[in-house]
Symmetry: C2
Subunit: 147 residues, 2 copies
DNA sequence: AACTATATAGTAATTATTCTTAATTGTCAA
DNA sequence: TTGACAATTAAGAATAATTACTATATAGTT
């Protein structure tokens, strides 16, 4: 459970980041941010839209979608696995790991026996059936960190 | 570089899996599989389609797309992070990890100091700027493993 | 209160995926 | 080797997801 204090701290952070990036604080943005903070289910833009339209009936989906993208861009929220682009296939079925460039989207294989051998926490293996485990690193590839 | 021997072994595996699942070996499927094996770039269905249409000019995108989905389903290939569904947002910016159910798509948070402290291989940190690192476990959630 | 850059709603366009249908083809048993 | 037949295909239509456009409205400043 999250305390009211921590919640307020996050709202503060949201105001701060917005100012830093010259973004205006609008009722829509505030509502979207608050709705997002409440979510524990890694919602889609459409999920957030459906929740928020009950309070702000004439808000547009585009505003929600654009705002969430903006939040991700300025580091207020993250996009989790599931990036909303086309599916990408990997013919290499051997255990390996990925580095993903957040700028150009390229996915680069690498191998690491340390990563291969991580042990799944009991908390997870008791509740769920784990079929695969992998480490995903994200950042900028060599090409993109120049630009 | 991959040896011709390993390549053939994979083709054998492909025939085997296809038979096991009562799937017919068609020229289209074989071509798609061979094209996929060549790819080192985690291609999209459209990428594969564009490469293959040069050899089989009247193949349809749907066949390529459907075939790749089938391959994933029977464990001939994998879909990598970025599953081609809607983007999903995560307001929790603290370091944590995810379990993702391959059946219902739910993403469940978990914490692990072991996972937080994995060290990025030099090979990667020298070439790239790593911004985030996380472990992604996949499998069946408690609800889905019943069904 | 007026100004102005940014944001918004509403809509259109684009991209990605899946479905429908009729024709074709791979597999297997005779 | 030859049908029978179920699986697969191409083509186009439909749906889902995302992004773009534009005229109007507003937050933040002066
Ligand atoms: Mn890979
Ligand atoms: Mn999370
Ligand atoms: Zn890059
Ligand atoms: Zn599930």
């Amino acid at each position: 459970m999250e305390s009211k204090l921590q919640q307020n701290k996050k709202i503060e952070m949201f105001y701060q980041r917005s100012k830093e990036h010259g973004m205006k604080i609008t009722p829509q943005r505030t509502a979207i941010y608050e709705e997002l903070l409440k979510a524990k289910d890694h919602p889609t833009a459409d999920d957030i839209y459906k929740r928020i339209v009950k309070k702000i009936p004439n808000i547009s989906f585009d505003t929600v979608n654009r705002t969430l993208l903006t939040f991700s861009k300025i580091g207020i929220t993250n996009v989790v696995e599931g990036y909303g682009q086309a599916k990408r296939y990997d013919p290499d079925m051997d255990i390996h790991h990925h580095f993903r460039c957040i700028h150009c989207g390229s996915i680069i294989d690498f191998h690491s026996s340390e990563f291969d051998n991580i042990t799944v926490p009991d908390e997870i293996s008791k509740q769920f059936t784990v079929i695969s485990k992998k480490v995903v690193l994200e950042g900028l590839c060599s090409k993109c960190r120049k630009g």
